[in-house]
């Protein structure tokens, strides 16, 4: 697959640790057994680092969402700042545009990235009303691959049944970054890729059509943001 995003965490990485460990064990015998405990804490630390990152990011988001003094624009800016820092917007955006990324002109790529970031932020800011009084806590955390960690959280809102969200955290340029959100087994980036591609396809492969649709969506979200006030 020519997608840079998937290529970065391709399958072989999952089996990499065992592949390295096995010959080691046979070659050095007991020596590798001593090395094993060293392996585990390193991975556990990875895990807790991702959890800490999600905890910190989540607390920042909740603080920004629940700040009663700030007006809408201020809150949106605070949320935007947290998202820009915490989410691998570039990587996720490219992944979602998928095969159309290479067919887009540089100008379209640039426009798309701007619209994508705006959509991400507006999607949250249009729900400020719904997320009033939101609380979240860490659930169990599980590691998937070498650099990918799924961090489970539980989101609680007043008068609504709590629900569980998984955050996929990867190392991007040495920093932990959210690369996907998974709700009930459904990956947001996969669903959104399907959605965007469908829009382009139904408009005879026009990327411009998607950009226009995104623009319309952002306008709608902005209108909703005002209503929820």
């Amino acid at each position: 697959m020519p997608l840079p995003f998937t290529a970065r965490r391709a399958k072989p990485k999952e089996s990499a640790p065992t592949m390295i460990r096995l010959p080691r064990r046979s070659l050095f015998g007991a020596a590798s057994l001593l090395a094993l405990p060293a392996f585990r804490p390193a991975r556990a630390q990875d895990n807790s680092r991702a959890s800490q990152f999600i905890l910190a990011t989540g607390n920042e988001l909740v603080a920004a969402l629940n700040d009663p003094r700030a007006d809408l624009a201020t809150r949106r800016q605070r949320v935007a700042a947290v998202l820009r820092r915490a989410v691998d917007i570039e990587g996720v955006g490219r992944f979602i545009l998928g095969r159309w990324w290479r067919q887009a002109t540089p100008q379209q790529q640039q426009d798309y990235m701007k619209l994508f970031e705006e959509t991400l932020i507006r999607n949250l800011s249009a729900r400020f009303g719904e997320y009033q009084g939101v609380r979240f806590s860490l659930g169990r955390s599980q590691q998937r691959t070498e650099e990918d960690v799924l961090v489970n959280t539980i989101i609680e809102r007043p008068n609504t049944a709590p629900f569980s969200l998984d955050w996929r955290v990867a190392e991007v340029n040495g920093q932990p970054r959210v690369v996907d959100v998974i709700a009930e087994g459904t990956s947001l980036r996969l669903t959104q890729r399907s959605e965007y591609s469908s829009v382009i396809q139904r408009n005879n492969g026009s990327i411009q059509a998607l950009l226009q649709a995104m623009q319309g969506q952002i306008a709608q979200l902005a209108a909703r943001e005002q209503q929820t006030r």
Partner: protein, 267 residues
């Protein structure tokens, strides 16, 4: 098509129409990315499915959503929870059968234990005491999942009005769920027919109510709700077949919208 039970003429009909009706144009074989996507979407009957989706949206707008919305407004939350618990408890025979068919004795034990406790202490299933007092949470299971575990492929994606997203395998599972449910065959007469009808109707209303927020959100925020639902359904179904993640609601059916909604957190 594999494993078609004799009593699912509806399924055969739906499939027949799907095959006759316009199939999606295959992408240019010279474009490997387009071909890969076409295969990944698994929706060769897309034009037909989109037409069915529009039919469903019409029904939903006029009947399903207003009824579910009124149900939420009129019936207080504790009563709705009780109704959901009863519906879930009534699904025990199907869940238990599928736990066993999948060779999951522990889950089968959970299902059986829950049924005994909830039917007695939980007053005919109204209160989920097995979960609240004994910590044994419910899970859903259906024939579609069992067929998947047995290696039956899902087949092409299908959208069925009222039932929602599906495929030949899950639709077969849905039929087997009805045919293989002892409650379908118990007794006869007007009273039984009425109760069966009430149960079926309540399942639809309860399921739609549980999806009010999610589906409203999809309609409002997706640039192509059809594509979003297709992707979400297939991903969630795969997760359910793996028995990974959160428990599906007790009342979930084996196809369509009623699958795995409203996850409850594990504490």
């Amino acid at each position: 098509m594999r494993l078609m039970p004799p009593n699912t003429s509806l399924l055969a009909l739906a499939l027949g129409i799907a095959l006759l009706a316009g199939c999606a144009t295959r992408p240019d074989p010279a474009d490997p990315d387009a071909v890969a996507e076409f295969e990944q979407n698994n929706d060769p009957a897309e034009p037909f499915n989109r037409a069915m989706y529009d039919v469903h949206q019409g029904i939903d707008r006029v009947v399903l959503r207003p009824v579910a919305s009124a149900y939420r407004d009129v019936v207080p939350q504790p009563v709705r929870t009780g109704i959901r618990n009863v519906l879930g408890n009534l699904r025990t025979p199907v869940i238990l059968a599928n736990d066993m068919l999948q060779g999951e004795p522990r889950r089968a034990g959970d299902t059986l234990g829950r049924f005994v406790i909830n039917t007695t202490l939980g007053v005919a299933g109204i209160f989920d005491v097995a979960s609240s007092l004994f910590g044994v949470r419910g899970h859903a299971e259906d024939y579609g999942q069992t067929l998947a575990r047995w290696g039956v492929g899902e087949g092409p994606y299908l959208f069925i009005p009222v039932l929602g997203p599906s495929n030949p395998r899950d639709l077969t599972g849905f039929g087997l769920g009805i045919a293989g449910d002892p409650l379908t065959w118990v007794g006869q007469g007007v009273a039984v027919d009425v109760l069966t009808g009430v149960r079926g109707g309540m399942t639809v209303v309860d399921t739609r109510e549980s999806l009010l927020d999610v589906l409203d959100d999809v309609q409002r925020s997706s640039l192509d709700p059809y594509a979003t639902l297709r992707s979400a359904y297939r991903q969630r179904r795969a997760a359910e077949i793996r028995n990974s993640g959160e428990a599906a609601p007790a009342a979930a059916g084996s196809t369509g919208f009623g699958i795995g909604t409203g996850a409850f957190p594990e504490r």
